[in-house]
Structures are given as structure tokens and as C-alpha cells.
Amino acid sequence: MTDRFFGRALRLHFRVVAALVLRETRTRFGRSQMGYLWALIEPTLFIVTFVAIYRVAGRHSVSGLPAEAFFMCGIVGWFLFYNMQAKMMVAFSANRNLLAYPQVTTFDILIARMLLESATSAVVFVILTFVLLLLNTQIEIGNFILIVYAFAMATLLGAGVGMILCAIKYYSDIVEKLATPLLRLMYFASGPFYSVVVLPKPLRELLLLNPMVHILEIARLGYFREYRDPFVSMIYPLGFALGAFLLGLMADRLTQSKIAA
């Protein structure tokens, strides 16, 4: 009896999440084919810009790794986190009308968003890897699992931060003004285009408090077989991401019930 009940509930969630992903695919990428391309073009523009700057400075490698592959790894990882938080910040208000259908829950919306954003990043990551290989970049993938681990944490952290910001936004509009500069600061402090290994100790220790530094380094450890980083922690960013995610869920529950009451 309970088994059947759970089976049915699970199938309903699955059906709703699948329907949401298909629908969000439409709205996430817009109506034109350009929408899909933009998901690819945006990180590519960043990578090309950094590579160009490095070439002008006469450099071809970062921390002993091919510059374009180094940037690709960091920037795709960063965009996954950034897009995830940006989408979650507005996801519930943008989809409020969906809650009119009682079988759609905020949790379904959250899961659908996370699946869509991480799948998009994974596709972009694979395509850009093939482009790099075609350009004769030396890439020797070390540990595929580590890349997946890093991407999963970036998704989780992005979702958590987005939900927390969304909840704070409910109390004060200042979030929207502050979030953009703070996230820009975080971008530079996350090392998408440098490694903390080369930094002086005090600065490095400060930056290592930022979970995104660890997440991007873990992605690189997985992507480059030869790469070493003695300072990275495998557990710290996971704890941080899970904490942010749970806090975000709670904050969301709290504000949702306020709106409903």
C-alpha cells in the first residue's frame, strides 16, 4: 500500500520535473536557435579574451598548463555557479503561476532548474573540450569523477546562494543592488583564470575561504592529469555547498509560507 503510494508519488514528481525541464529549455534559450548558441558563445568570448591578453603578454601557459584549457575549465565552472544562482533568484517568482497546478511544487522547479543548468554546462564543457583538441591543445584528462564532483558542487552552491538571495530579497530590495558587485568580486576571488597555488601565503589563505576556489581547482585536478594543488580541500566546498543548499531550502520555506499566509 505505502509502496504503491510512494511509487505513484515518485512517478508524479518524475513526470512534473520532465515537463518542467522541457518547458524551461524553451524559455531558458529563447525562441531562436541563437539561444542555444549563446550558452556556448558567452563562455567562449571570456576564454578568447583571456587567451588574447596572455598571448599579448607573451605567455602560453598558466601554472604549467595550456592557457586556453585552463581558462575553459575555470570559466565553464564559474558560469555554472553564476547562472544557477541567477536563475534560482528569480525561479520561484517567475514560476509562481505554475504553483496553480497543485502537483507542481517549488522543489520540482528547483530540481528541474538544477538539471537543466548542469546539463547545459556539461554539454558546453564537452563541446569546448573537442574544440580544444581540434586546436591541438595538450589535454590529458586525469580523473573524470573529480570533474563531475566539482560541477555538482557548483550547481548545489549556486542553487543555495540563489535561494538565500531570493529569500533576503523578500525582506529588502537592497540585495539586487548589492548582489551584482559582490558576485563580480567573487568572480575575481574564485580564480577562474589563475591558480591560488602561485599566490603569496596571506592572500592565498584568504581566498581559500571561498568555496568556489576549491571547486574550480578540483575541476582542474580532474581535467589535467599532471596538475597538483597541495592546498585544495575535497570536503570543505562540499560542506559549504550542502550548508548553503539546506539554508536556502529553509529560507525558501520560510518566505513561501509568509507569502501564503
Binding site: 520532465a18 515537463a19 522541457l22 518547458r23 496553480a100 497546478y101 502537483q103 499566509a261
Partner: protein
């Protein structure tokens, strides 16, 4: 059957709490056509949204043993950037309905023509209402909810809606809220009066209407 178990609903307004429903336990029987009578401002629309599951009760719980529609003609569940067709596909998916059947039925019924493949945000309110009405008819529910019967489109289209809705009423239950006893008398065979946060059920519709009219005189 839909069962209210100690369900209450209150809103916080600028002037303090406003009670729509005191804790109520009531059974709404299956396959009856239930008319809920209430004056404006008594919370009829809130009540129908509670039954639909669009809103959660402040306390207690509502058990639905039948599939319940959204309030008929309800069109704010559409996504403006998606076309009529895409919206239908999405809603068919979450209800587990046959996508091809629903699409064909609504395309024919709503008479939107080329607009069927245009984003819903370009629709007039009449067009979205037609889409929503067609959708409510295409997906079979065991119980239909109606929040005041609002007329959609021209006389000819209203006729068509009336016919489709009459066919559905034959084998589904109906719960309708209205302030108009005449409307309730046309569609329903059982009555509930909603007054001051209390629901009083009458098996005999005329008794419900008598009680409601009594209340109007006071």
C-alpha cells in the same frame, strides 16, 4: 469525494487577520453538483482555490479522492513566452494526459487559428480564456470547479462552451461558487452557504437558497 478535515483559512491584511474559514470538517460528495453560495467578499474565490489545491489552508488538510480541475477558464497558469501549443503540451504532461488528443481537441475547440502557434503573451484576454476553457474540457476531470461562470467570446462560442460543459457535467462532479442563486439553481442539485467563515450544507438546494436569501435580507 473531497473531504475537509479541520480546515481553516485566514489572511493577514493591513488591518489584522481576516478569517475566510473557521475550522471546518465537511464532506463534499462525489458526483453531486454542488453550488456554494456566498456574498461578495465572503471568500468564495479563496474557497475554490483551496479545493483546487492552488492555495494551502492555514490549518487542517483537504483530501481529494477524485481528480479536481483548476477553476474553469483559469488562464493565469500559462507561460507568456510559450505558444498556446507548447503550454498545452506542458500541462498535458504534468496531468499525464494524452498530448496529441489534447492538442487536437483544443486546437479545434479554441478556434485560435495561427495564434495557436504564437506566444500566449500576444493573446487577447478572450483568446487566453478560450484556450484555457478548451484545455479544461480536453483533460477529463472527475470534478470540475467553476468560479462564477464567466462568459467567453461571442454568443456562438458561448453556446459551444455550454454544450461541451454540459457533456462533461453528465459524467463528472461539479463544484461552483456564485453570489447568484439563479446561476446555482441552473447548474446544481445541492447547496452550501458560505457565511462569516462557516459552511452550511443542505442536501436540498432550495433550502440552501432560502437560507442564503434570508441572509441577504438582514
Amino acid at each position: 469525494m473531497i473531504v475537509f478535515r479541520d480546515v481553516s483559512k485566514a489572511y493577514r491584511t493591513n488591518r489584522g487577520w481576516r478569517v475566510i474559514l473557521e475550522p471546518t470538517t465537511i464532506e463534499l460528495p462525489r458526483n453531486r453538483r454542488i453550488g456554494i453560495l456566498g456574498r461578495n467578499g465572503m471568500g468564495k474565490s479563496t474557497l475554490i482555490r483551496l479545493i483546487a489545491g492552488t492555495e494551502s489552508p492555514s490549518s487542517g488538510r483537504i483530501e481529494r479522492q477524485v481528480s479536481v480541475s483548476w477553476p474553469l477558464g483559469f488562464s493565469s497558469g500559462f507561460h507568456g513566452e510559450l505558444t498556446g501549443r507548447e503550454n498545452l503540451r506542458f500541462i498535458s504532461r504534468i496531468y499525464g494526459a494524452d498530448i496529441d488528443y489534447v492538442t487536437d481537441y483544443v486546437e479545434e475547440f479554441s478556434e485560435l487559428g495561427d495564434y495557436f502557434d504564437m506566444p500566449v503573451e500576444t493573446y487577447s484576454s478572450g483568446m487566453s480564456a478560450r484556450l484555457a476553457f478548451g484545455l479544461s474540457m480536453a483533460i477529463r476531470f472527475e470534478c470540475y470547479l467553476v468560479d462564477e461562470l464567466t462568459s467567453v467570446g461571442d454568443a456562438w462560442f458561448r453556446d459551444k462552451c455550454e454544450q461541451a460543459f454540459a457533456a462533461r457535467r453528465r459524467d463528472s462532479g461539479l463544484i461552483m461558487v456564485s453570489h447568484n442563486a439563479g446561476t446555482i439553481r441552473t447548474y446544481c442539485d445541492m447547496g452550501i452557504v458560505l457565511r462569516d467563515g462557516r459552511m452550511t450544507a443542505y442536501d436540498d438546494l432550495e433550502m440552501a437558497i432560502a437560507d442564503y436569501s434570508e441572509g441577504l435580507k438582514l
